[in-house]
Amino acid sequence: MARQFMKGCEAIAEAAVRSGCRFFAGYPITPQNEIPEYLSRRMPEVGGTFVQGESEVASINIIYGAAQTGTRAMTSSSSCGISLMSEGLSFLAGARVPMVVVNVQRGGPGIGAIQPAQQDYNQATKASGNGGFQMMVWAPSTVQEAVDMTYAAFDYAQRDRNPVMILADGVLGTIMEPVVLPEPRSAEEVARLKAICRPWALVGHNPETEQRALVDSGDWNTKKMEQKCIDNAALYESWQAEAQAEELFLEDAEVVVTAYGISGRIAKSAVKLLRAEGIKVGMIRPRTVNPFPAASYEKLDYGRVKAILDVEMSIPAQMVNDVRLAVKDRCPVETCLHAGGEIMGRREIMDAVRALYR
């Protein structure tokens, strides 16, 4: 398949279309404007719908409506816009409606900085809204990975009837890289994927001959509401087996760098350079941050691993808490951090590793 040179945001948008996404609603915010801009011209070409919502609150609820029909739907935003979507995300997860949400993270809190950061880890993985719901959260580190994860995200969403998040950042959103795009799903296939949803979807069932659809996040019957929570929890638990991480040089590593997304990519090149210097350093890069790939840390030989270096573009560090839970005090976990739109430097990571290696 042909390689193309594409900007991250546009590649994500095209991957969504190729996966069968036929509905997008969103509100402008840097650094993800290229996603709605691209889809405003691309959706009509494939018979899909593009809506510029009046806010992120409206956009996520427009998606809540569209996705209820079984149509593959997506929205995207950045940090403070994602906060406004938390209400809708909670309803989507509560009512078990599939969709994909992309967070092209910027610096935070508040309006923060429009430059790249990884300041929304806890929000994405722990509490994207009220009610203790969870989403699968995929964290790409290259444009190619963003494409592949976005393409797959719609399948996970449909399988689980639950929102899925792509947790990107301002670097990935704006960088241009060569990518190989997946084959687009045919119109027939897209229609078939929608038709599968019909039993639960808000499509207008015949009340005399069919079970009507009630798409609802709540229940006044406390027993039934409890059962909903139990079923949701079982879904979240089932993801454990699907946690993914890229592992590098762990066989003999004495220091292990861990980082996700753009930090993971920068860390990877630092680790390779350190290896060339003969330093026994390895790397764990979570590709899913929810579920968190704890097994990768469990496998480590803590007789040999002296320390773990958690690298994040977030201050305070956030993923480090999951890393510490997985490491269970078997070795020290240190951090190497930037925030506010300051991008992690390879040299800083290398210096931090050398300090731990001695």
Binding site: R22, F23, A25, T49, V51, G53, E54, S55, V57, A58, S59, N61, I62, I63, Y64, G65, A66, A67, Q68, T69, T71, A73, E87, G88, F91, A95, L202, V203, G204, H205, N206, P207, E208, E210, R212, A213, L214, V215, D216, S217, G218
Partner: protein, 250 residues
């Protein structure tokens, strides 16, 4: 004997309504069911329920429906309708839902001329949560969060949703109705039918406001509440067609 009236099939027979005595939600849902049957749209309908007392209806109706976040009805309906234009989509929202927390979603959907129908039930108060001040509460009318009554200096004046929407170009049909007597109830039903027909014909945004009573939270028995509705509410919210583009087209 000839049967000249039967209950709409679109309301479940095995449920007992939880609406308070004198509440008009039950009448409105009955009329909606009848209109859907008359239009043969029973199996093409998708209702988007706002948050408020109307939410009870999710279990009473036999057709497809969804509950959305408080105030977001017009956003959710935008998604449902645009994704499946062949379904008949309507929102059902109270005044707190539509005109306070959901004002942006309502105005924007109306301004886009979205091709769905809004059933807007204005009882001048927050019913579900126990009688708090609504954007439509009358001046001087007591609310649980305005114990001395609505004071314009502090709370401003009642909001007239139809008149505000009438400033926009896109909306196709705006009518204010009531269910205070049989004649007006019939007019309400005709307005709902017209609004649904507009949608079927692809005309765009229609909103039917229905001025109702809330005996429980007004602190009045149902008959006195009806009196208050006629003497006070309908003075502030006069009934009639506010916009009908089909007339302009003719």
């Amino acid at each position: 004997m000839e049967k000249i009236y039967s209950r709409t099939k679109l309301l479940r027979e095995d449920m007992v309504s939880g609406f308070c005595p004198g509440c008009m939600h039950g009448t409105i849902f009955k009329m909606i069911g009848e209109v859907l049957e008359e239009l043969h749209m029973e199996s093409k309908v998708a209702m988007v329920l706002g948050v408020g007392c109307c939410g009870l209806a999710k279990e009473y109706v036999t057709y497809d429906n969804t509950t959305c976040p408080h105030g977001r009805g017009c956003a959710t309906a935008t998604g449902v309708k645009r994704a499946n234009p062949e379904t008949l989509v309507f929102t059902y929202q109270g005044d707190g839902d539509l005109a306070s927390i959901g004002l942006a979603e309502t105005m924007s959907a109306a301004n886009r001329g979205e091709n769905f129908t809004v059933i807007f039930v204005n009882n001048g108060i927050y019913g579900m949560t126990g009688g708090q001040l609504a954007p439509t509460t009358l001046v001087g009318m007591k609310a649980s969060t305005a114990p001395k009554g609505r004071n314009p200096k502090e709370h401003g004046y009642p909001m007239h949703v139809c008149e505000i929407l009438n400033q926009l170009t896109a909306p196709y049909y705006l009518e204010r109705c009531s269910c205070n007597n049989p004649a007006n109830t019939r007019k309400t039903k005709a307005a709902i039918k017209k609004a649904f027909q507009n949608q079927i014909e692809g005309k765009g945004f229609s909103l039917v406001e229905i001025v109702t009573s809330c005996p429980t939270n007004w602190g009045l028995d149902p008959l006195d509440a009806l009196g208050f509705l006629e003497d006070k509410m309908l003075k502030e919210f006069p009934l009639g067609v506010i916009r009908d583009k089909s007339k302009e087209e003719a």
